[in-house]
Amino acid sequence: MSSKADVWQGTLTLMVLRTLETIGPQHGYGLARRIEQTSGDKLALNYGTLYPALLKLEQEGYIRSRWGVSENNRRAKFYELTKAGHRQATKAAAEWEQATEILARFLTPATEA
């Protein structure tokens, strides 16, 4: 566990949006597992922090939720992106890419210069 990275502040929202965009409607646990898998099991996601983040996104109108049945026949709450959510996912991804690109310039070895 200790070798795993924590989720950086503010990135969880983006991960949730991108994951939902990729896999479609998913319940909270599935979403958490999927995020861990996507990170190549390098992220230590505290499942508890996922739910307030989901609630915030729902309040902001980026996702909506409804009760459904999971693949192994359990009742669970499924989340899916709204139209605004799709737009927001694209926008946030672009912003993040730009941020990492800028940061990358600082981190690449100075030998190139």
């Binding site: 319940h27 909270g28 597992r33 499942y47 609630l55 309040q59 359990r74 709450k77």
Partner: protein, 891 residues
């Protein structure tokens, strides 16, 4: 946008909280179940899988809490919780709540009430465009000391020159005050009016709500029979009908076509707008053209006109004053030859309109505001003390909450919520009190404070009341909240939760009491000084009798021949005097205290006469002195024959005799009022009467002279009678109707009424300040009582020990009383120091009493000490009756 949506959702979910909590619990359960499924699939045992699931989640309860906090608006949720909690605690201690709310209510109420007055009088805008630019343009005659500078204005011919020469003023207007006898449907009423030139409305920048204002064409003689009326006359006379412009007003048989109606607030000039205006006119209802004749326009002498000007943009008062001084000096140099003695060398005095019409009331408003601020501070101190005592009483509760993990910020917020609620409650009580005060205001209104009657609880007053409530809440709440929440938790726990509150509490409370006492001393000493001044005014020897009935008769144009008016009064006055029950009747040109004075130059035979020495003079009918009950000191009263006597007899007052006949007998002495004749026509002094306070109750009487006369164009009639004034007046009315049915009696009042009007403002300020001082005293006593009761209850154990060790009950009583006396004593000392400074500001309000009057201050101290000890007596008695065995068992 998205943030707003989220906020809205949070708010909604607070209002409709049903099911949300269960919904999330179900979601969590599903999560855990799914997680366990995965764990089982990976080969864990059921219990291990559950354990892992909960660990990965980070604790179900914590997640639920985090979810809840995100779901709702946390601060609002907390606030609602605090409010609910506060209301619950208030319900548990109604005594505390009611006392605190009422205390603050009294303070806030006093503030709101006085602010509503200040708002009406000083803040609310006047119905004139930019009144800051308006000025009065006086023409003082510095060589005539007896005439105040604000009584004279430049004459018409001078004004025409000033209009052409000046660069400071954008507009200059002149008008005269006049009375209008309105005959409508057989009832004659007297209303104030003004004859105005074409610049009047333009200068004031006020325009009619209906029709048009008086313009240049209306001021042409012959075309001047038009009138603009006030809004209130429009509603009373024409019931607000729109066809008002097709009507006319009739005055002495002449009809004035109505051309305009002014908006509601415009009734300029009010009585208070002019320092020496016509005292019969309270407000102006009709404006008619001045329509000067060519002869009037050529007048270089002082007329009855009043001059108002509007300064040009960017011209400061100083520059306008300098320019006018120069212009008036130039005019004097050119025209002194054509002027009479009094009008030579007229100067210029430019005064802001606002300071003239509001000048005298500004200090009064400041005084009242200062007083209510003190009352509010005392109320705050009281409420603060109550909260402190309560916080100390709740130390256990707060300690338990702190021990259970309540944060300090959260506790302060909770305590402040309580004081906020108390403040708002006080605000509501205060607004209600202010409303009651405004209901009573018409009875208190002295009638000479401009626009006082328009005071109301408008939006600005309510906003100030709310702001004051919030401020007082914070003010009273912060100290108790900080000190209550700053307990040392370990101490609290060590003392088994019996004593946990911070030290210094009681010192803070004591100093609040000391400050309150000091402020009460200041307020009571001020009120005491005003009361003494009022008593002095009331007991002033006015020289006349209060019970004399007076009324005014103004003759119209039909009596312009002196022979006719003389015949009229010679007929009327004796008829009134011979009525059954009437012991004397007389007429006079100007009644005392009627705000009009006739001053003239004079000289005395055989006296080193000064140039410009002046005399108050009055024309009276023979029995005026008996009617007014003015005592004769030497010589004799007038008789019917004196009127036509070639001796030209006069009666002077005592002051005159003492000043001008210091070592001679004044009876038989000669004085003359014509300046230029040589040798003068001498008048012979035949009697000396007592001094009469003519100009005001305050001012010492000046030298006065009376001459016998029956020739008046308007006169005040004084009647002395044993009968009730109603009966006298109606019988006089009948007599007048027989002589001339078109004339009316106006201003019917006793001399006592006139005196009461003259002291009305003093009565107003005295009663308000005394009320505030009374409120302050009661508040301070409640505060003192509260503190003593509280400290006694906290010292029960100590008292018990003292008694167990042999202390007498009496010595316990003294112990408590000594504590109270010490607080009051320090308060008195601080208060006396402040009073010494504060009452100096009162100087202009005092009459016949020194600002450091030892009697007043002594009485205040005695009263405060007495009341204070009374307030402490009950708690002291309770302390003394403590049962030592019981007391030692407590805690």
């Amino acid at each position: 946008m998205r943030k707003l949506r989220a906020l809205w959702m949070q708010l909604l979910s607070m209002l409709f909280r049903g099911g949300k909590e269960q919904d999330f619990t179900a979601e969590l359960e599903a999560h855990i179940a799914l997680c366990i499924d995965d764990g089982l699939r990976a080969g864990l045992t059921e219990s291990e899988a559950r354990r892992q699931a909960i660990i990965r989640l980070g604790g179900a309860e914590q997640v639920r809490q985090a979810h809840r906090e995100r779901r709702v608006l946390l601060w609002l949720e907390n606030l609602a919780q605090d409010l609910r909690y506060s209301l619950r605690t208030f319900r548990r201690s109604p005594g505390f709540t009611v006392t605190a709310v009422l205390t603050l209510g009294l303070g806030i109420g006093a503030c709101t009430a006085i602010f509503s007055l200040v708002n009406a009088v000083l803040i609310r805008s006047l119905p004139y465009g930019n009144p800051q630019k308006l000025v009065y343009f006086f023409a003082p005659a510095p060589h005539i000391k007896a005439v105040p500078a604000e009584a004279l204005f430049p004459g018409y011919a001078d004004l025409i020159d000033i209009r052409q020469q000046n660069r400071s003023f954008q507009n200059i207007t002149a008008y005269e005050q006049t009375m209008f006898n309105l005959a409508e449907q057989g009832i004659v009423t007297h209303v104030g009016a003004a004859k105005v030139d074409e610049n009047f409305f333009a200068t004031l920048q006020s325009s009619p709500e209906i029709g048009r204002a008086i313009g240049a064409e209306d001021n042409q003689p012959g075309r001047d029979k038009v009138a603009v009326i006030s809004h209130s006359l429009w509603t009373s006379l024409f019931a607000g009908h729109v066809d008002v412009l097709q009507h006319s007003l009739f005055r002495e048989g002449v009809s004035y076509r109505i051309i305009g109606v002014m908006p509601p607030a415009f009734e300029y000039p009010f009585r208070t707008d002019l320092p020496y205006g016509d005292s019969h006119i309270k407000s102006t209802q009709i404006w008619i053209p001045l329509a000067l004749t060519p002869k009037q326009k050529a007048h270089r002498t002082i007329d009855d006109n009043i001059v108002v000007a509007r300064s040009r943009q960017g011209v400061p008062l100083k520059r306008a004053q300098a320019e006018m001084t120069a212009i008036m000096a130039g005019l004097a140099a050119l025209h002194n030859a054509e002027r009479g003695e009094p009008e030579r060398d007229l100067g210029a005095l430019v005064e802001p309109f606002l300071s003239t019409s509001l000048g005298p009331v500004r200090p009064l408003m400041n005084l009242l505001l200062g007083a209510v601020c003190l009352v509010l501070l005392i109320a705050c101190g009281n409420a603060g003390n109550l909260l402190l005592a309560r916080a100390a009483g709740r130390a256990r509760e707060l300690g338990v909450r702190a021990a259970l993990g309540a944060g300090r910020g959260r506790m302060i917020r909770q305590l402040l919520t309580e004081s906020l609620l108390i403040g708002l409650g006080g605000g509501a009580v205060g607004i209600a009190l202010a409303f009651l005060f405004l209901q009573r205001l018409p009875k208190l209104d002295p009638g000479n404070i401009p626009r006082l009657s328009e005071a109301s609880l408008d939006a600005r007053v309510l906003a100030v009341a709310l702001a004051v409530s919030l401020l007082t809440s914070v003010f009273t709440g912060v100290l108790p909240a900080l000190s209550a929440s700053s307990m040392q938790l370990t101490d609290f726990l060590k003392t088994h939760g019996t004593r946990g509150h911070a030290r210094g509490h009681s010192r803070l409370q004591s100093s609040l009491i000391v400050l309150q006492t000091a402020m009460v001393v200041v307020l009571m000493a001020s009120a005491g000084l005003l009361i003494r001044s009022y008593i002095n005014i009331e007991s002033v020897d006015t020289g006349f009798s209060r019970s004399t009935i007076t009324m005014n008769i103004a003759l119209d144009a039909r009596y312009h021949d002196p022979l006719q008016s003389r015949a009229f009064f010679k007929n009327l006055i004796p008829k009134i005097g011979s009525k059954p029950g009437v012991s004397a009747a007389g007429a006079v040109s100007n009644l005392p205290l009627s705000n009009s004075e006739s001053l003239g130059f004079f000289r005395v035979e055989g006296y080193p006469n000064q140039k410009d020495q002046m005399l108050e003079s009055r024309s009276v009918t023979p029995r005026y002195f008996q009617a007014m009950n003015i005592p004769l000191l030497a010589g004799r009263f007038f008789t019917e024959e004196d009127d036509s006597d070639s001796l030209r007899p006069v009666i002077v007052n005592e002051r005159f005799a003492k000043t001008y006949f210091p070592s001679r007998n004044s009876i038989g002495g000669h004085i003359s009022t014509d300046e230029n004749q040589n040798p003068p026509h001498w008048n012979t002094i035949i009697g000396v009467v007592a001094d009469v306070r003519h100009t005001s109750l305050e001012a010492e009487p000046e030298p006065q002279a009376y001459s016998p006369n029956y020739d008046f164009d308007h006169a005040s009639i004084a009647v002395r009678s044993e009968l009730p004034s109603q009966a006298v007046v109606s019988s006089i009315r009948a007599t007048l109707k027989n002589i001339d049915p078109t004339l009316v009696l106006t201003d019917i009042q006793t001399m006592g009424d006139l005196m009461s009007q003259a002291s009305a403002r003093r009565r107003f300020q005295t009663s308000l300040l005394s009320t505030f001082a009374g409120i302050a005293l009661i508040l301070a006593l409640v505060g003192l009582y509260g503190l003593m009761a509280y400290s006694v209850s906290r010292r029960t154990r100590e008292v018990g020990i003292r008694m167990a060790l042999g202390a007498q009950r009496r010595s316990i009583l003294f112990l408590v009383l000594r504590g109270a006396a010490a607080l009051i004593g320090i308060g008195l000392v601080v208060g006396l120091g402040s009073t010494w400074v504060a009452t100096r500001l009162l100087r202009s309000f005092l009459f016949g009493v020194n600002e450091h009057d030892p009697l007043t201050v002594g009485l205040v101290c005695a009263l405060l000490l007495g009341c204070g000890l009374m307030a402490a007596l009950f708690p002291a008695y309770r302390a003394a009756s403590v049962d030592p065995t019981q007391a030692l068992r407590t805690e």
